[in-house]
């Protein structure tokens, strides 16, 4: 364990240093009066192990925005935290990181986390400290709105009326509806076998899928949950064989075994049954280490996934080329949302930061600005605002299908679920 922490700390330090020197030089040449007040944006994402394909491209989006957009009077650097422990996202580590960020007086805004279960542990901390966080990727409904028996006020214990959490990704009721749309309308499946990984995100997503799929007129033949720690999915695959559904839908992520499940489906000759997952499986191409596609192997064919963010962003080519120029690779699914979160922060800083020298005051002013539903943001994702709960007004889900020619996910459609009766 000690090795891990040391390595992460070292990486964070290098990151922060790199960002620091990168931001300082243009500030000096811009003649903004000696760089201005030094403040920090926190990044709280899973950066290592099986989660690297998720966290790294998202953090890159933040870096790119910090480099692109300057706010006069301020020098913005990054305080980077990693919530992956032993290569897997960890809620306790997330809460710890959030405390670290809250205790760093220069941190006035945080981008993250990536995983909903981590957000559940972090929101109480950010709420108690009045530190605004913007998640690029969280989709669990109960983080912002009541869902089942869970309420967001359970998380905002210290100040129930104070919003300290917003997200640019839309919620799982929409994402689950998107998955159901793929299953029922794209694939034409009337029956499914529905599974989840028994975690916050996976179970919520599968519930939402079930709701919409039944509304469409489809039938869930069987619903079950599989421990996220097992590697043996053979008995579930055999169940699928017996049910012979037109599709299998699974709420969960690659690290909780979805790739393995699909691989074992292929081993029992069931790769012809389409597989539908959420954004937990759209995590890179076959060549990406530990990605869904790499693990599932023969099961890649007929696999579908969603991303809880808009695909057709206004200047997609421009963003992609800027990203590629800096990082020498294509943007990930949540790079643009990471960029958008940062744009929101910088817009708030521009609006309320002038003349504020007290960092505690600045933190609260930024929080209040972002929490205000009246403010609209013009971002890389398009124009939107947050409602009173902190949810984006953009409810677009993007659909992906495995493309055998590229050995990667291929985008084929997006759907706006704003006021859509199916969900």
């Amino acid at each position: 364990m000690r090795f891990t922490k040391l390595a992460v700390f070292g990486m964070g330090a290098v990151f922060a240093f790199g960002a620091c020197s990168g931001a300082a030089s243009p500030g000096a040449s811009g003649g903004g009066g000696g760089g201005g007040i030094a403040i920090k944006i926190g990044i709280e994402l899973p950066m290592t192990g099986g989660e690297a394909p998720n966290g790294v491209p998202t953090a890159n989006g933040v870096q790119l925005a910090i480099q692109d957009i300057k706010v006069p009077g301020f020098t913005v650097t990054i305080n980077q935290q990693d919530d992956a422990v032993n290569g897997k996202h960890n809620a306790n580590q997330g809460a710890k990181n959030m405390s670290t960020l809250a205790n760093d007086s220069q941190v006035v805004f945080v981008v993250g986390p990536y995983n909903s279960s981590v957000a559940t542990a972090e929101i109480p901390v950010s709420n108690a400290n009045g530190l605004m966080q913007c998640s690029p990727a969280n989709t669990a409904v109960e983080l912002t709105k009541p869902w089942g028996t869970a309420k967001p006020t359970d998380l905002r214990k210290t100040n129930p009326d104070k919003i300290t959490y917003v997200r640019v990704a839309t919620t799982d009721d929409n994402q689950g509806a998107g998955m159901a749309d793929i299953a029922y309308n794209t694939i034409g499946a009337k029956t499914v076998y529905l599974l989840d990984d028994t975690q916050t995100y996976g179970k919520g997503l599968a519930d939402a899928f079930g709701n919409t799929f039944t509304k469409f007129g489809g039938q869930v033949l069987k619903r079950d949950g599989v421990s996220d720690k097992t590697t043996d999915f053979t008995s579930y695959v055999t169940t699928a064989k017996g049910l012979n559904p037109a599709a299998v839908a699974y709420g969960g992520v690659t690290t909780s075994g979805l790739g393995l499940f699909r691989k074992q489906m292929a081993a029992q000759g069931l790769q012809t049954i389409p597989f539908v997952g959420g954004d937990g499986v759209v995590d890179g191409s076959f060549a990406t280490a530990s990605s869904f596609l790499q693990i599932a192997g023969d099961g890649d064919t007929n696999s579908y996934g969603t991303v809880a963010a808009i695909h057709d962003i206004p200047n997609a080519a421009d963003f992609a080329s800027k990203y590629k120029a800096k990082f020498n690779t294509d943007p990930g699914s949540y790079s643009a949302p990471g960029y958008a979160c940062t744009q929101i922060f910088l817009q708030a800083l521009k609006a309320v930061g002038t003349g504020v020298t007290d960092l505690g005051q600045l933190r609260e002013k930024i929080r209040a600005y972002v929490a205000d539903p009246a403010n609209k943001y013009d971002t890389v994702l398009g124009t939107f605002n947050f409602d009173k709960d902190g949810d984006t007004s953009q409810h677009v889900i993007s659909y992906y299908k495995y493309d055998p020619a590229k050995k990667d996910w291929g985008y084929f459609k997006q759907r706006d679920f704003t006021a859509d009766p199916v969900k």
């Binding site: 364990m1 090795f3 891990t4 290592t48 192990g49 099986g50 989660e51 690297a52 032993n86 290569g87 897997k88 599974l195 028994t198 069987k222 619903r223 079950d224 949950g225 599989v226 421990s227 720690k229 097992t230 590697t231 043996d232 053979t234 008995s235 579930y236 055999t238 169940t239 064989k241 017996g242 690659t254 690290t255 790739g259 393995l260 691989k263 074992q264 081993a267 029992q268 280490a289 530990s290 790499q294 693990i295 192997g297």
Partner: protein
């Protein structure tokens, strides 16, 4: 270990004693199959094979727990990690030999399999002996708690070594066995499942024969029964205990190879979960008892598959550990423990 000690007395008591065990096993299998027919219908046979296969893997790991406990009364928490490292050894071997998928030439396949098992078993056997020498032997006469803590320490060290030097996420292992189904009359079984089940059963039979029929086996049994008396009778205690660790770890190494062949993946943390299940199997069967460990492994395999087959997969772990609690309440020494301890 006590199984073996009890074997001679079993021969003397004829009818009841001789047939009771096999009858109970047959009854259990029949009941399990009936439940599978109820829950899975036409897929009952497949589920039965799934259960036997995963049960065989648990049983192979459980044997090492129970052997070590039998001889030095230590719960070797590092044992699950031996299994994990074993899977990485076979991954390293297969990938460095350049294999990426199924090998269709049966001769080459047989050669590769033999090589993979021998290398992984020998390497893990040696690792087990080294761990015993470094972390347990110096503490053999210390209070019980001390070696338990070093065992947990060794477990983390092994995890960290793999984590830092190889990979901190899921690693895909080449599945060298072709994915073909064999049919024997009404029974259809995939080659890999048959291979795993037959291999595990053969290793168990071989172990049983070794423990009951050889001089070294007799030394192990006597050390397990009374270390000091065995020493007085001329048994070299240190090398006997080392041998126990070698065999137990080699079996876990074999299970590690099976993990890669069957599931096609490994991960530096699989040892914890598998170790916990196998430890449960050992306790369920009666810790210290090799036959019990094997039975316990299969029982857990069947419980897991049955819960999933009935559609209560999210209760699978609760069912496994709930069964353990029930068995321990009514039979504190496990399924076979009490009976054999009495006879011995």
């Amino acid at each position: 270990m006590t199984t073996a000690a009890a074997a001679p007395s079993r021969r003397t008591s004829f009818d009841a004693g001789r047939w009771r065990g096999p009858l109970i096993v047959a009854g259990f299998l029949l009941a399990a199959y009936a439940l599978m027919v109820v829950s899975a219908g036409a897929q009952a046979q497949d589920q039965f094979i799934n259960a036997l296969t995963i049960g065989a893997i648990y049983a192979l790991i459980a044997l090492g727990y129970t052997m070590v406990y039998g001889i030095i009364e230590l719960i070797n928490f590092a044992h699950g990690e031996i299994f994990m490292v074993g899977s990485f050894v076979s991954w390293g071997l297969l990938t460095s030999l350049g294999f990426t998928g199924a090998i269709n030439d049966p001769v080459v396949l047989a050669g590769v399999l033999v090589l993979a098992f021998i290398v992984s078993m020998v390497v893990m056997g040696v690792v087990g002996v080294v761990i015993e020498r470094v972390a347990y032997r110096p503490l053999r006469n210390a209070p019980r708690l001390a070696p338990l803590i070093t065992a947990i320490g060794v477990s983390f060290i092994l995890q960290n070594i793999v984590f830092v030097t190889i990979s901190n996420s899921i690693v895909t292992v080449p599945q060298v066995m072709p994915n073909t189904a064999l049919t024997f009359g009404p029974i259809a079984i995939r080659e890999i499942n048959l291979f795993v089940i037959v291999l595990a059963l053969s290793l168990m039979v071989a172990l049983q024969a070794f423990v009951t029929r050889t001089t070294l086996g007799r030394a192990m049994r006597s050390t397990a029964m009374d270390r000091e008396a065995a020493q007085l009778m001329g048994v070299d205690i240190n090398s006997t205990i080392a041998l126990t660790f070698f065999i137990g770890s080699a079996l876990a190494g074999a299970a590690g190879v099976v993990q890669g062949l069957y599931f096609g993946v490994t991960h530096f943390q699989i040892g914890f979960q598998a170790g916990l299940k196998a430890f449960t199997a050992a306790v369920l069967g009666g810790i210290g008892n090799t036959t019990g460990a094997a039975i316990g492994g299969f029982v857990i395999g069947f419980i897991e598959v049955l819960t999933s087959s009935f559609g209560y997969g999210r209760w699978s772990d609760a069912a496994v550990f709930g069964t353990l609690v029930l068995v321990l309440i009514f039979r504190p020494t496990g399924i076979l423990g009490q009976q054999l301890a009495d006879r011995a």
